[in-house]
């Protein structure tokens, strides 16, 4: 009965949420439902980060993924998708082939992991209670030393700028053609 701790129960709940909602989001025929299940999956993943006591990463996951990207998805579904024919019928053969491919992949990865990986049990540490302090995160992101990442940070800024301009140009093409 030593397995039933609050930590383990929360982990089990989170993993059920992540995997169940991920599966539903892939299997459901209506895109709006798929977006909602994707939202639940992303929140579950943020919960997993929180359980490893990575607070800032969970906050970033929630605000960027669940806040920003999902809003983009919902806007795209509302703008693009015709409400009348919103159920896409995928043939059973295609689904069966996709499921077969996914099951093969799962089998290969799990067999490799458990046959060849040697996981040493380390029961001395009970759980992650100490959080990473913000100062360390800031120094890691904006430092120039070893194990510090200023250059990728700046490159990410350039990427975001390029992506804003690119998205504007691509989405505006039709108007230029008409003129």
């Amino acid at each position: 009965m030593e397995f039933i701790t609050a930590n383990n129960i929360i982990f089990a709940l989170l993993s059920v949420i992540v995997l169940g909602c991920g599966l539903l989001s892939v299997l459901t025929e209506k895109l709006m439902h798929a977006a909602f299940y994707l939202f639940l999956t992303l929140v579950g993943v943020a919960g997993l980060y929180l359980q490893m006591s990575y607070d800032f990463l969970a906050a970033a996951q929630l605000s960027v993924y669940a806040g920003g990207i999902l809003m983009l998805f919902i806007f795209a579904i509302v703008l693009v998708h015709r409400i009348g024919e919103n159920s896409e019928h995928v043939r059973m053969g295609k689904k069966a082939r996709a499921g077969f491919a996914a099951l093969c992949g799962i089998a290969v990865v799990l067999c490799t992991m458990f046959l060849f990986g040697n996981f040493s049990e380390d029961p001395s540490t009970d759980q992650f209670t100490e959080t990473v302090n913000m100062e360390l995160i800031g120094c890691t992101l904006l430092g120039t030393g070893k194990h510090q990442y200023l250059l990728p940070f700046e490159a990410t800024g350039i990427l975001l700028l390029a992506c804003i301009i690119g998205a504007l140009v691509i989405a505006n093409k039709e108007k230029e053609d008409k003129e």
């Binding site: 990207i69 795209a76 998708h81």
Partner: protein
């Protein structure tokens, strides 16, 4: 403490759920959602390895932050492309993009 294998198993299953969706979906937005699932699975892996192997450094942490940012950029551009495809072809399924055929 939860063993690291559990995180790896969750990440594997989520990854291949995403792969399944990527193959089975016909809709471009559905494909994009499956890619998000795949990226999240990879992120879980990065974070779990960072937490269990090197708890005093932040390599996987920073890497998954960058993955989140790149995913946001990629989604914005991809949705702009999907809008454009929808305006030109009148549909957003994968089958409708066949202008370069023949």
């Amino acid at each position: 403490m939860i063993p690291v294998q559990f995180y790896l198993v969750i990440s594997t299953l989520l990854f291949f759920i995403g792969v399944f969706g990527f193959i089975a979906r016909k809709n471009l937005i559905g494909l994009l959602m499956s890619i998000e699932l795949i990226l999240n699975a990879v992120n879980i892996n990065f974070v779990a390895f960072n937490r269990y192997l090197f708890p005093n450094q932040l390599e996987g942490y920073v890497y998954s932050l960058f993955v989140i940012v790149v995913a946001a950029a990629e989604t914005a551009v991809a949705i702009a492309i999907i809008m454009n495809v929808y305006r030109r072809m009148g549909s957003e399924t994968v089958k409708s993009i066949n202008e370069l055929k023949n």
